[in-house]
């Protein structure tokens, strides 16, 4: 909608006012540092409370290990954890890539063809009503203990959010642009490619952000059901052997990976969206 709606706001703006001058980076950078400092302070506070709790109640390490012990375990088992992180990262990355491509492709297909909308959309919603987690054992049965079942799990879990967000965007092209294109004799294909898809990029970006959150969940659930490697597998293994400290170490790495992935996808989405506006 931005193109049509922001017109009035832009009336009075002089040339070149849209981008801040090059010298304006200073306060932004110091703001980031201050925010990071605050985050570090909060994290340190939580870790201190955690350690304090463990010591005050003298909790045994197989119930709740303190952060110091978890940290030590993380360093001791760095190689092992790195190996399993690699597996999960590949599963998540492949799942995200394939799921995003399939979801975006479906959205474009649905937007282009009313027949496809009538035929596929109800089926799509039914598949979404089915909890994907319930499929995990079947996927493992069909595809085995390797990566394929986890990748497929991640694909299934992100496919719908991506397809549905992008499809909504494609169907909400500002009417003025459609009128203009019609008066110019646009072909449906060119209209899709030149106007509707670029205009829907912000919607696709919000779908991808969701996908970045869901993809690790899909992969880890797949690993829990049956796997020979990956952080989910490692956590289950550690838990079964009462190696709670290793489980926490794996959990922390998983959380860090998920946050990094979310930030990275968010950054890419922000850049692409900024180019479109």
């Amino acid at each position: 909608m931005s193109g049509a709606r922001q017109t009035d706001a832009r009336q009075e703006r002089p040339e070149g006012a849209s981008s801040p001058p090059a010298g304006a980076r200073g306060p932004v950078t110091s703001g980031v540092i201050r925010r990071m400092g605050k985050a570090a302070l909060v994290t340190a506070g939580i870790l201190a409370m955690w350690e304090g709790l463990v010591r005050a109640f003298d909790l045994p390490p197989f119930i709740l290990p303190g952060p110091v012990r978890v940290g030590a375990t993380l360093i001791e088992n760095a190689g092992l954890i790195a190996y399993h992180t690699g597996i999960t990262a590949v599963e998540v990355g492949l799942g995200l890539l394939i799921g995003a491509l399939l979801g975006a492709g479906t959205a474009i297909g649905l937007a282009l063809s009313p027949v496809a909308r009538a035929a596929i959309q109800p089926a799509l919603i039914v598949t979404q009503a089915l909890p994907v987690f319930a499929l995990a054992p079947i996927l493992t049965l069909w595809l085995g203990y390797g990566m394929a079942s986890k990748v497929l799990m991640a694909v299934l879990i992100i496919y719908f959010p991506v397809a549905s967000a992008f499809f909504d965007g494609l169907m909400r092209t500002p009417k003025g642009w459609l009128d203009l294109a019609q008066s110019m004799g646009a072909t449906p294909r060119q209209l899709m490619w030149r106007v509707r898809i670029p205009a829907a990029v912000p919607a696709l970006a919000s779908g991808l952000r969701l996908a970045a959150v869901y993809a690790p969940i899909g992969a880890v659930i797949g690993e829990w059901v049956g796997a020979a490697g990956g952080l989910g597998y490692l956590m289950l293994l550690a838990n079964g052997r009462a190696k709670t400290d290793l489980m926490f170490a794996a959990l922390i790495v998983l959380a860090a990976m998920a946050v990094l992935l979310y930030k990275a996808v968010g950054e890419v989405c922000d850049r692409i969206t900024a180019r479109m506006e």
């Binding site: 931005s2 193109g3 049509a4 017109t7 009035d8 832009r10 009336q11 009075e12 703006r13 002089p14 040339e15 070149g16 849209s18 003025g176 642009w177 009128d179 203009l180 294109a181 019609q182 008066s183 110019m184 004799g185 646009a186 072909t187 294909r189 060119q190 209209l191 030149r194 106007v195 670029p198 205009a199 180019r275 479109m276 506006e277």
Partner: protein, 239 residues
């Protein structure tokens, strides 16, 4: 370019509510016709009917060109919003019609048209870097690029400040000379300045109003233009 006249005759209704009835509108071939009326009187519907755009209304009547060929593909459309694509630069926006039809883009013609509206130095800028008046100039260049004998303008200058509006009226009159233009407007002063033929649209229908002897575009501030503007204003209030 051969001058094409357009005649629209008929009635339109939205479900059961009549929008306008027994209207007859004749566009001056190769000149400017202004359709003046208050907001919501259905003047944009008339423009959209001629443009072949969806109106949501049911039209009973005839719409034909003076040479009896269909109008389809011979009409260019310019709206109040500039409708620029923010991800394309000025040159990209001006050439968007060819892109959308999957045709090759003639770069010299794009440059020529951008020069004609006075945006030569801005050809590589994005719409976000331009002022409202400049953006509307890009929209005009895009309309010129289409090179159609009939040009429909739906209040294209009404969101601009007074000075920019007067400038844009002059640029449009100069660059669109020889084409059949329909300008829909709610501004009597604009109709008084731009109209070779002026229609007033009100609740009672559409009425043609005699224009002063000088051809449009008339001089801003000339006694004749001001008097005609005042007359249109009085009629608009009475309608």
């Amino acid at each position: 370019m051969t001058e094409v006249g357009v005649v629209l005759e008929g009635s339109a209704r939205l479900d059961a509510t009549p929008l306008f009835s027994d209207v007859r509108l004749e566009l001056a071939p190769g000149g400017w016709t202004c359709l003046l009326g208050p907001s919501g009187c259905g003047k944009s519907t008339i423009l959209r009917l001629i443009a072949g755009l969806d109106t949501g209304a049911r039209f009973d009547g005839t719409l034909c060109a003076s040479d009896a060929s269909p109008l389809e593909g011979r009409v260019a459309y310019m709206a109040q919003e500039d409708l620029l694509l923010p991800w394309l630069d000025v040159a990209g926006n001006v050439a968007v019609g060819a892109r959308l039809r999957g045709e090759p883009i003639p770069p010299e013609r794009v440059n020529h048209v951008i020069g004609e509206v006075g945006l030569g130095p801005h050809a590589r800028k994005r719409p976000g870097q331009l002022s409202g008046g400049q953006r509307q100039r890009v929209a005009l260049a895009r309309t010129l690029m289409e090179d159609r004998p009939v040009v429909l303008l739906d209040e294209p200058f009404s969101a601009l400040d007074a000075r920019t509006r007067a400038e844009m009226q002059e640029v449009a009159a100069r660059t669109l000379a020889g084409r059949t233009a329909l300008l829909v407007t709610h501004d009597p002063a604009e109709a008084a300045r731009m109209g070779d033929r002026v229609y007033l649209m009100g609740a009672g229908g559409v009425e043609e109003i005699a224009v002063p002897p000088t051809r449009a575009i008339r001089t801003l501030g000339a006694a004749e233009t001001l008097t005609f503007g005042a007359e249109l204003m009085a009629r608009l209030r009475a309608a």
